[in-house]
């Protein structure tokens, strides 16, 4: 089978969209934080916490959407912690983030172990089912690729539009972007820098956590410790790739997922003399190449990483 033929298969496109979904949530979440001037390296841990928390909610008898909301709440809790350290106290965003990643990953493992001390085979839940929408799901190609995924995938796409709209069309979005460019400008116009940053970090973290929950509530039906497996870091890369723009972020997520899907299909061809590790590395290598192409003139938020303390200059 040659690679071009691969793109003719609907299954490939379906896989791409499915694999992109958690990345879309995570990338949008990080994008919101960074637009407000706060890097959130806690993403990997927040995704882990959402992954476990959302699943646990459902496992303990809650509804699926309840699980999503619960995961979002966990994300907000982590977002508040990050805000406390990185926004209110103005501490190093890197350390706070890495600390939260450590905390999120280990705490979710610990809690899982405490609640299910005997679980060797991870218990299962009934995850989100693929949609079967009246007309939409039956459109040829598109119906299968987009509208027959689970509701969370559609939510992810909707989030791209919503986030883009909020960021670029509403007063709130203007304020959020501005606070990442020059907090003093925001303060001078009577808005609360700390409030806006906190809101952005919490909202972004909530989305990351939902991205994590996608893994246990849609992509799979059980929780495994360590299941996020670096997806959060990819999101950080994708935010830069997207030059902090939601639509480009969507594109980046799809592209990364496409590399991954190609890699999976090419790797298992017979007579492949190339080691499989190279295929696994492809998505990363292509991301770097794509980044090189994209970022000649990337304009990052000017106040990124710079804490704001009232009455200091």
């Amino acid at each position: 089978m040659d690679i071009l033929q691969l793109f003719l298969e609907t299954g490939f496109w379906v896989a791409m969209v499915r694999m992109a979904t958690p990345l879309i949530f995570g990338t949008l979440g990080e994008l919101i934080c960074e637009r407000a001037g706060v890097v959130n390296l806690g993403i990997e841990g927040i995704m882990a916490a959402g992954c476990m928390g959302g699943w646990m909610w459902v496992f303990l008898g809650g509804s699926l959407w309840g699980g999503i909301v619960f995961a979002a709440c966990i994300g907000i809790a982590f977002g508040m912690l990050h805000s406390l350290f990185a926004v209110y106290l103005g501490l190093s965003q890197h350390v706070s983030g890495l600390g939260l990643t450590m905390l999120g990953s280990s705490l979710s493992a610990f809690v899982f172990r405490m609640l299910l001390p005997k679980a060797t085979t991870p218990p299962k839940i009934v995850p989100f089912a693929p949609l079967d929408l009246p007309v939409l799901s039956h459109i040829p190609f598109l119906g299968e690729v987009v509208f027959s995924q689970t509701a969370l995938t559609l939510l992810a796409f909707a989030m791209v539009i919503i986030v883009a709209y909020i960021l670029f069309k509403t007063p709130l979005g203007l304020a959020l972007r501005m606070v990442g460019e020059n907090p003093m400008a925001v303060e001078a116009q009577g808005l609360s820098v700390l409030g806006l940053r906190t809101a952005a970090v919490c909202a972004g973290s909530a989305m990351m956590a939902v991205g994590g929950a996608f893994l246990t509530l849609s992509a799979f039906d059980a929780y495994y410790i360590g299941m996020v497996n670096g997806r959060g870091w990819i999101c950080i890369a994708l935010v830069v790739f997207s030059s902090w723009k939601p639509y480009k972020a969507l594109l980046g997520c799809l592209l990364f997922a496409a590399f991954d899907a190609v890699q999976m299909r090419v790797q298992q061809q017979a007579g492949m003399a190339i080691p499989y590790q190279l295929y696994l590395a492809l998505p990363y290598i292509f991301s770097i190449i794509a980044l090189i192409i994209m970022s000649r003139k990337a304009a990052y938020p000017k106040a990124l990483l710079i804490p704001f303390r009232k009455g200091e200059r």
Binding site: E9, A15, M19, T120, L215, F220, Q268, M272
Partner: protein, 305 residues
């Protein structure tokens, strides 16, 4: 009298390999034979410290993995001659107190391969594994050999996900194989069974009984089971008798000694053709009797189409 047994695992105990050790020890603990303590997800860097700590604390038996740290484990074993060590390892036993084992469940894999070879309609079988290490490779090869023995026309797809632990990813790999025409999956990793269920095809399980444990009803025809109970119980009784020696427990994880088996067919009992069931039973007997040997091949398996 009870002895204390420590388990040290490099992966979380949901990882099947470690789960198998953990469950066997837990069973012994529940039966009141031992006091059982364990540490999970101990990285190799920390492993030796943990090993020494347990040894220092005076546990009687340590069960764990020496893969990748064989040398250091041997040093520790030498430093604590009064502690018994039963470690997963590719090297042989050492000193007076270090016994080794590995999971040799390639025999039931061969049997599953036979069934798979008969059941496939497309003559295409897929296999998804973690990493191409010996423990995994030999299972794949046995499975392929079994399938070929009944159906020389079958072809195989092989994928490694590059992680012990990423069910969504394993699932994606399995989907990709199904797209390529595979109609039977060998689920070395968690996640594959779910893909089979969603795609409406059959699967075979690995290490644990996936039909019962991983939502494999109507999907998982059979699983190659690994039982550490007999090995662990043997070790425990030896320690209790203060007769623990450095041994290779390889045989304790094979079919003849009850260390491995093919799971029941459950709902597939009636769906499988009688002739293949008979042939599998016959081969199983031959294996147990020692008249038939399944070849161990630790080379990295490759796709054939």
């Amino acid at each position: 009298d009870k002895i204390t047994v420590a388990g040290i695992y490099t992966q979380p105990i949901q990882q099947k390999w470690d789960a198998c050790l953990h469950k066997a020890l837990q069973k012994a603990a529940d039966a009141g034979d031992i006091d059982y303590v364990y540490s999970e997800k101990v990285s190799n860097t920390d492993y030796i410290r943990v090993l020494r700590e347990y040894s220092e604390k005076g546990v009687n038996l340590v069960v764990g993995e020496a893969f990748g740290i064989s040398r250091d484990v041997r040093k520790v074993a030498k430093d604590y001659p009064n502690v018994a060590y039963l470690m997963g390892d590719t090297f042989g036993p050492a000193g007076s107190n270090l016994s080794v084992f590995d999971n040799y469940i390639h025999e039931p894999c061969y049997l599953m391969g036979m069934i798979a070879g008969k059941m496939t309609k497309s003559n295409k079988i897929g296999m998804v594994g973690g990493y191409p290490i010996g423990e995994v490779n030999r299972l794949f090869h046995a499975f392929m050999a079994g399938a070929k023995s009944v159906n020389p026309a079958v072809e195989f797809k092989v994928s490694f996900i590059g992680s012990w632990y990423d069910p969504p990813k394993a699932k994606e790999f399995a989907y990709a194989q199904v797209e390529a025409g595979v109609d039977i999956l060998y689920a070395e990793r968690a996640g594959v069974v779910d893909a089979a269920r969603e795609k409406g095809i059959l699967a075979f399980g690995n290490v644990n009984d996936m039909n019962k444990e991983e939502n494999g009803k109507d999907v998982v025809v059979a699983s190659a089971l690994w039982h550490m109970e007999s090995a662990v119980n043997h070790a425990i009784s030896q320690v209790k008798k203060t007769a623990f020696k450095a041994e290779d427990y390889k045989e304790w994880t094979m079919m003849a000694k009850g260390g491995a088996s093919l799971s029941p067919y459950y709902e597939f009992e009636d769906k499988l053709p009688a002739d293949i069931k008979a042939k599998v039973a016959e081969t199983a007997e031959a294996i147990k009797a020692g008249t038939f040997t399944v070849k161990i091949n630790d080379e990295e398996p490759k796709s054939t189409f």
